[in-house]
């Protein structure tokens, strides 16, 4: 970014009164593109990113956001107004990075012009007092004429760009540092464009599929779907897949007992409705790529298969119901709804426990694999609901107008079922059978265009960064002058950035010039260290 030094030195205050609109605009532009502003914006970006990691985010975990609202009824709405639940899409966060982006462009574009000019410039003439430079050597040569020629050759060998002046050689090295610097900043812009592209035109959605069932890629099939602003449903490639099975392996012993070691969901898929069916093993870190779209295996769980019969003995519900895991041992919570049960509708909620153990705390699961599956439920009944068309969560039971079954002893009814077992509800209201269980997998389908652009951008940025950090510009001068009737050769150098062996190189250059000229004098004429003599 623009070096602030030069800017600071140009005095503007006297012109202030007659700045005018254009002047103000120019002033604002200069302020915005100055390095100090860029620094402040960088800090603001860092600071602004922090709350998003501490406060739950709608884009990451909407359930936690809802919990937060419940737990902090006053703070919640206040945070909401500040955009704290969606920090990375909030206007103020966008403002910071847009300003930074503009500042970045405003910095590097003029700098590119400066650099192109500097590339053609000749290494500058030596300053008057070479001995004030951080690296300095002087000695007496034997013959005057050859020194500069020799120096030019030596400096070229050391990859300096060399320019001959009258009585002096000027050399400069490390032009690529600024090229690296510019490459870094321009590539960063490229990477950000790639990221913005993906955010605008990409999409991401998840769907829960019970093993044996299928999914075809259309918006209606998703459980949740977050498209970019420029996304249109036509962008969805028309593939379809069927989940054929799911296996999970767990650690059977040791301290990490129960930790998963392997997931695998074999699937079949078709790229388009007409294309041939292919199979694929969907695993973690092993996504399926179809037509630029990725399918990831994100999670898994159990779906108990139940049959609910109503008071009339009719089947009111039958099929697998996905339960959501609540802990590492997959104690899974879920609800079973039978709104069509008559004379009264029925509903159940409770836990599926893959490896159930019943102790004083009640039934719990002690292992994530299904070694001893048990369905531990409670039931509700009520008048048939009026069809409102209002969407209802499949994971929550609206208990507003429902009554919980009692166990006849004043307690609430609780019952446990092993696969194949049946429970008859009190008062002839029906029965529920735990037929068996299925597994479900949570799939994520996503498409991020601009991904490669971002990757190329950030990779080039690193390349440029390394150039700008590890290439060290150095200027060196060799001058021959007469002092008190003697001829003196001076070798001096100047580094940009911290000291990196400048003295060693100046010494080496001086040594290269010395021996051929006056080899016998070399040991006597030990180089002085001017640095220590400086006041």
């Amino acid at each position: 970014m623009t070096d602030v030094k030069e800017r600071v030195e140009t005095p503007t205050p006297p012109e202030l009164p007659k700045l005018g609109l254009l002047g103000w605009l120019r002033w604002t532009w200069r302020q915005l593109t100055s390095m100090k502003t860029a620094l402040v914006l960088l800090f603001l970006l860092a600071l602004g990113a922090v709350p998003g990691s501490l406060i739950p985010q709608t884009g990451i975990d909407p359930v936690k956001v809802a919990d937060f609202f419940e737990a902090h009824p006053k703070l919640g709405p206040f945070y909401d107004k500040l955009g704290m639940f969606d920090v990375y899409k909030s206007p103020w966060f966008s403002a910071i990075y847009l300003l930074l982006f503009i500042s970045l462009i405003g910095c590097v574009v003029p700098r590119l012009q400066v650099y192109l000019k500097a590339l053609r410039a000749r290494p500058p003439k030596p300053p008057r007092n070479l001995n004030r430079l951080p690296g300095y050597q002087s000695f007496e040569p034997a013959a005057e004429d050859d020194v500069l020629e020799l120096a030019a050759r030596e400096l070229r060998r050391r990859r300096f760009r060399v320019e001959l002046y009258d009585g002096a050689v000027a050399a400069e090295r490390g032009y690529l540092r600024e090229a690296g610097n510019l490459l870094f900043h321009f590539s960063l812009i490229l990477a950000l464009v790639g990221a913005a592209w993906g955010a605008l035109f990409g999409y991401r959605g998840t769907v829960l599929v019970v093993v044996g069932n299928g999914f075809s890629n259309s918006v209606a099939q998703y459980d949740d779907f977050s498209p970019g602003r420029a996304f249109t449903p036509d962008d969805l490639p028309p593939f379809a897949l069927t989940v054929k099975g799911f296996t999970a392996k767990f650690q059977m012993d040791g301290p990490q007992r129960g930790a998963a070691t392997e997931f695998n969901a074999p699937i079949t898929y078709q790229e388009t409705p007409d294309s041939p069916e292919r199979s694929y093993d969907l695993r973690v870190n092993h996504p399926l790529k179809v037509d630029g779209t990725s399918v990831h295996l994100l999670g898994h769980g159990y779906a108990p298969r139940v049959t609910v019969r109503d008071g009339k003995g009719e089947v009111a519900f039958s099929g697998p119901v996905p339960f959501l895991p609540q802990d590492g041992n997959f104690s899974s919570f879920g609800v079973i709804k039978a709104p069509d049960a008559r004379p009264e509708q029925l509903g159940f909620e409770g836990y599926f426990l893959p490896t159930a153990v019943i102790d004083e705390r009640g039934p719990i699961s002690v292992f994530p694999d299904a070694a001893n599956p048990v369905l531990a439920m409670t039931g509700y009944y009520g008048r048939p609901a009026v069809e409102t068309g209002k969407p209802q969560s499949v994971y929550q039971l609206d208990k507003n107008k429902l009554t919980q079954f009692g166990d006849g002893k004043g307690d609430k009814l609780r019952f446990q079922l092993a696969p194949g077992q049946n429970y008859t509800l009190p008062d002839g209201r029906g029965s529920i059978t735990f037929d068996s269980y299925d597994r479900w997998v949570k799939l994520q389908i996503s498409h991020t265009p601009g991904l490669n652009l971002a990757l190329v951008g950030i990779s080039l940025a690193i390349l440029g960064l390394m150039g700008s950090l590890f290439i060290h510009p150095r200027r060196t001068w060799v001058r021959v002058r007469t002092q008190d009737g003697r001829t003196v050769v001076e070798v001096a150098g100047l580094d940009r950035g911290p000291e990196r062996g400048l003295g060693d190189e100046i010494q080496a250059i001086a040594d290269a010039l010395k021996p051929e000229l006056k080899p016998d004098l070399k040991p006597a004429e030990q180089p002085e260290k001017p640095k220590q003599e400086q006041p």
Binding site: M1, D3, V4, K5, V8, M35, K36, A38, L39, L42, F43, L45, A46, A49, V50, G52, S53, L54, Q57, G59, I60, V87, A195, R204, Q251, G254, P255, Q256, A259, A260, T261, E262, F263, R283, V284, N285, H286, P287, S294, H296, L298, Q444, S446, T448, L451, A454, L455, I458, S459, A461, I462, L465, M466, L469, F470, G497, P498, E499, K531, Q532
Partner: protein
């Protein structure tokens, strides 16, 4: 040897290394303590010491001071020697841990701690002769011993296989890059802290005050500023690669999005931004020196928070094996 034997060796060697680092730290602490009482007043002596890059200058004040200086030097050497010994054991502990688990030894927080602290030791020992970093011994041994001690006492997890999300060679690349740059951030942070101390002492001397011999043994503030810059300039591109290239590529494989504002990602970006600011600050008039050093220290704290705080306080996708 069986994995169990390797695990036993690792569990034996890591605490031993911790103790040896701690003894090395005491040796360095002794070195500092001995130099506290010896004060330097003459302004010229400070300047001579600074230009020689941290070599021990024997003040002409008297033989007792010279003796003391020799003893300080001895304590420093013993400290470095013990650090090497601790490092070798530490290395053995990390390697056997990897052999016990049958994979790279950074699959959970305990393992990351022992590996990241090993990275600190490596970065220090690699640079110690090149940049004459002996004066950093106290800080390095303190940090490494503390991290190892904490890991052994609070974070220990027996060796075991990985959760499926970690089954990827990106684990090797991503975490190794993060650990090594983290080691360099730590060195950069320690140097910057000492820079602030030394810069203050130099200013005091210019105002006619005194400087203790332990501070005098440090290189000039300017040289330390340069050292911090070199170490951080090495770390920054590596960190960029680790968290902005390797991390996102892996995240795209594992989670289907290369950037998702997971707390760990956020704090990695914050770390990146702070160090980017550091590099810019050094190129900006008025921010060089003290302010740049402060930014480097803030960056180090942010890194540590990302490594410890995010795992313990915030839940996110980067939580494995309990933490």
């Amino acid at each position: 040897m069986s994995p169990e034997t390797y695990a036993e060796i690792s569990n034996l060697v890591i605490p031993t290394a911790t103790v040896i680092y701690a003894i090395a730290m005491m040796s360095h602490a002794l070195e500092w303590a001995m130099g506290r009482s010896v004060e330097v007043t003459a302004k010229s002596e400070v300047l001579v010491a600074s230009s020689s890059g941290g070599d021990v200058e024997v003040p002409a004040a008297g033989t007792s001071v010279a003796d003391r200086s020799g003893r300080m030097e001895a304590a420093s050497r013993i400290g470095l020697l013990l650090t090497w010994l601790g490092f070798l054991l530490h290395l053995a502990g990390v390697v056997t841990r990897g052999l016990a688990a049958g994979r790279v030894p950074w699959g959970n927080m305990y393992e990351f701690s022992i590996t990241a602290s090993l990275a600190v030791a490596i970065v220090y020992l690699v640079f110690v002769h090149r940049y004459k970093l002996q004066w950093l011994g106290l800080g390095v041994t303190l940090v490494v011993a503390a991290v190892l001690g904490l890991a052994t006492l609070a974070l220990y997890t027996p060796a075991g296989p990985l959760v499926p999300a970690l089954h990827s060679y990106w684990l090797v690349i991503h975490v190794a890059a993060a650990a090594i740059s983290g080691g360099a951030f730590t060195i950069g942070g320690l140097v910057s802290i000492l820079y602030l101390v030394k810069a203050r002492a130099e200013k005091r001397v210019l105002d006619g005050g005194t400087m203790s011999a332990s501070l005098k043994r440090l290189p000039s503030a300017e040289a330390m500023d340069g050292t911090a810059y070199k170490v951080l300039a090495f770390a920054f591109p590596l960190w960029t690669f680790g968290v902005l290239v390797a991390g996102p590529i892996w995240a795209e494989y594992a989670w289907g999005r290369y950037w998702g504002w997971d707390p760990k990602e956020v704090w990695s970006l914050v770390t990146w931004v702070v160090y980017a600011a550091y590099l810019h600050a050094r190129a900006t008039a008025g921010w060089r020196g003290r302010r740049a050093a402060t930014i480097a220290i803030v960056g180090w704290f942010v890194f540590i928070f990302n490594f410890v705080g995010v795992n313990l306080l915030v839940s996110g996708l980067h939580s494995y094996a309990g933490v």
